[in-house]
């Protein structure tokens, strides 16, 4: 507050949500996820088919470590089959009038809405993220993306890419595990709207909603081969992006893998868009709306367990309000509810995999070793499953690993600045450039700062808000190309003035 009498001030006492008023368990029914098969093949040419190989992977519920299903490890032969099916479907699909393609996309969007509870529960089980988020964030955005790009399908001539922009052909799309169905929607919706066909590889820890999406494609009557889904790990992804008959590669994931893909397809005519890692600065000026800034910091780093490429993982706070802000942040973190992802009152669910938990644990340990001060609220974690307390580090310097490397977990590094210029300098001092946040009540300062930040998305007095109409993408090692909005059409169109 403006004036705080330090002598009479009381110490920070986290407003414990677990006191008098304990919330009884409010679990969503796992049965709402519908039937999960014991094993899945690939979805190619409108049908589920067995892999040519015999290797199968398992996907587990990260909150219980129980195996949910087996799925095929896609071979080069599987990938080839899928690309051929997509190539075969391309001729008819790309020559459909845009208004006809739009009908399929609208239909998919509506089916996603109708089946949103099923998909939300399935996503929560496979990914570990809380049902509150899949229900209130992921699924509404998935439907919104299909609705939005359905609207573009018959207006491509007017999208600003010149008359009659052409589709590219077969799009190879490789997506991550943090927002499995939403990343699918970000990739599939613009590709189909622009007349391309798709071979999509979901992440190896979260294939189930993509496989369920195959069922939605069938339900929507989408022509066979327009969407193909091949499962597997990085080997399958590499085979897909390397396939010679692919015209477009779209990848969302880590910077090292993105770099490998860029090398792999260098010298080919494949068009590439990459959405990679981030280490976003969330800048809080001393005139910020404090309570809302605290909420924004929490949403910025603890949303989706911090498994967000654009997470606000570096808090840059003006030194003059550091103590006040950190007290408020710690108090708020004390009320975060960590636990069963299917409980409707859970704020932070399970870490997606043992491997990711190990990486977060390792980086957090490095933070301590390098001299930063670690703090986490007291909270009970379930016995089984992969969990990590919401954690913050103070006394972090730009040189620390936790200030430079993407942790991709619920770990916030707090740094300070003294002047706006220093804030901008520190915010930009990273190899990444995906997103940033600015908190101030002063409009001119928002504009001044945003103009100087080298980040693809800059949020002002909010964070981690997504909308299909808004382009999203990075600078520097965070990748190139944009997804969402009118800009999101361009990576799927031939916009060179070649066709006469």
């Amino acid at each position: 507050m403006a004036k705080t009498d330090k002598k009479t001030a009381q110490p920070v006492q986290p407003a414990k949500a677990s006191g008098l008023f304990e919330y009884a368990p409010a679990p969503e029914s796992p049965a709402a996820a519908g039937e999960i098969a014991t094993s899945y093949g690939h979805f190619i040419g409108g049908r589920f088919v067995d892999s040519s190989g015999s290797e199968a992977l398992k996907t587990v519920n990260p909150a219980t470590e129980q195996v949910l299903a087996e799925f095929a490890q896609g071979t080069e032969e599987d990938v080839d089959r899928a690309v051929k099916a997509a190539r075969k479907a391309f001729a008819d699909w790309s020559s459909l009038p845009g208004s006809e393609r739009a009908k399929y996309l609208f239909r998919i969007a509506r089916i996603v809405q109708e089946r949103s509870r099923e998909l939300a529960v399935l996503e929560s089980i496979d990914n570990g993220k809380p049902i509150r988020e899949t229900r209130d964030v992921d699924l509404p955005l998935v439907a919104a993306h299909f609705f939005y790009y359905a609207g573009w399908a018959d207006k491509l001539d007017f999208a600003g890419f010149g008359p009659n922009p052409r589709p590219l052909g077969v799009a190879a799309q490789v997506i991550p595990w943090n927002f499995p169905l939403l990343m699918l929607a970000w990739k599939v919706a613009p590709a189909l709207a622009t007349g391309n066909t798709v071979v999509l590889k979901p992440a190896e820890t979260t294939p189930l909603t993509a496989l369920r999406f195959a069922d939605i494609c069938r339900q929507a009557g989408l022509p066979d081969g327009v969407v193909n889904i091949v499962t597997g790990d990085g080997r399958t992804g590499a085979a897909l992006t390397a396939h010679p008959d692919v015209n477009k590669v779209a990848f969302t994931g880590s910077t090292p893998v993105g770099r490998a893909i860029a090398k792999q397809i260098a010298g080919t005519r494949k068009k590439l868009s990459l959405e990679l890692g981030g280490k976003a600065a969330n800048i809080v000026f001393d005139d910020a709306p404090l309570d809302q800034a605290v909420e924004g910091i929490v949403n910025g780093i603890f949303f989706n367990q911090g498994h967000v490429c654009c997470a606000g993982s570096r808090l840059l706070v003006q030194e003059s309000i550091q103590d006040e802000l950190l007290d408020a942040l710690k108090r708020r973190m004390g009320t975060l509810r960590v636990g069963d992802p299917l409980d409707k009152n859970t704020d932070i669910g399970a870490i997606n995999s043992a491997a990711q938990l190990a990486r977060i644990t390792e980086l957090a340990a490095a933070g301590e070793q390098e001299g930063a001060e670690r703090w986490a609220p007291e909270c009970e974690l379930p016995g089984a499953g992969y969990w990590f307390r919401p954690t913050l580090f103070t006394g972090v310097s730009q040189a620390h690993r936790i200030a430079r490397e993407e942790i991709f977990g619920p770990v916030l590094s707090v740094l300070t600045f003294r002047t706006p210029a220093e804030a901008v300098e520190k915010a930009n001092n990273t190899p990444f450039g995906l997103s940033a946040g600015i908190w101030t009540e002063k409009g001119s300062r928002i504009l001044w700062t945003a103009n100087r930040l080298r980040a693809g998305v800059v949020w002002a007095n909010t964070f981690n808000k997504f909308d299909p109409t808004s382009p999203f993408g990075g600078y520097k090692e965070s990748g190139y190309g944009r997804e969402g909005g009118r800009h999101g059409l361009e990576p799927y169109l031939n916009v060179e003035a070649l066709d006469v």
């Binding site: 403006a2 001030a9 006492q13 949500a17 006191g19 008098l20 008023f21 304990e22 409010a26 209130d136």
Partner: protein, 328 residues
Amino acid sequence: MSTLAANAPGATGGGLADVAASEATLRRFLHGLPGVDQVGLESRAATLGTRSIKTTAKAFAIDLAISMIDLTTLEGADTVGKVRSLCAKGLSPDPTDRTAPHVAAICVYPDMVATAKDALRGSDIQVASVATAFPSGRAGMPVKLADTAEAVAAGADEIDMVIDRGAFLSGRYLEVFEEIRAVKEACRRADGSSAHLKVIFETGELQTYDNVRRASWLAMIAGADFIKTSTGKVAVNATPPVTLLMLEAVRDFRAATGTQVGVKPAGGIRTTKDAMKYLVMVNETLGDDWLSPHWFRFGASSLLNDLLMQRQKLRTGRYSGPDYVTVD
């Protein structure tokens, strides 16, 4: 220049009393409070509104909500009979189940205080009276103070005053401050004790969240025991974001001064589901310290019956309908 705050006996506000030393210092203080981002505040309130309160938690919250109600009748048509039957309802809300808690207070106009006091004799239900030319507050100070004194003399335990929104909106903060101080003085009884003072902002007329935050601090520094959203007489009454903002204000005020102040949303809270959302906000913003009728109240009339119907449903497994609760 006024030194009223600094010199007033029992002045509260901790180290903040001197901010009301002059119009200028008070204005500087209130305008120096952090701003409120509308989008962020409303989204936080909406998120808290998605909490799912089931079974044992719901039973606890329903009883807690009943015990926090200021059961209210503020009509021109109020009669002695109406007030008596409301008091009977407040004492024993569910005639079929004596385990139902009683309400916190009965809230009436000053001329009905004696009737209510009489009807509630022997119980610990408080009698709250609106005062200071409720609901508009458009009267001179002598009238407002006489209104207050009359209610206190008739036995009111609590006074719900309205601030002069006109003075507030035209920036005459010190005038509002001194008005609250003077009413607080008028709450004093002959034996030296004092009626509890609730200060109503009429947030629907203050309009902006920044104004609500400023009004909250202004009232708390002036010695309010409770801050209250609305009269229930204008188009927009209590809303979750406005209440959340006031909860944050009392939290920050206690951190700054050590003085705890209560919060009362009033008007427009009609369903159990609404009440649950408010209790979740209290729980997650303030915690146990405010989860009692001493520190949080609902100003409501129709809310009670919905709580009772949900209570019966929880107890019996059946939803019996509005004819199984009393209409008073």
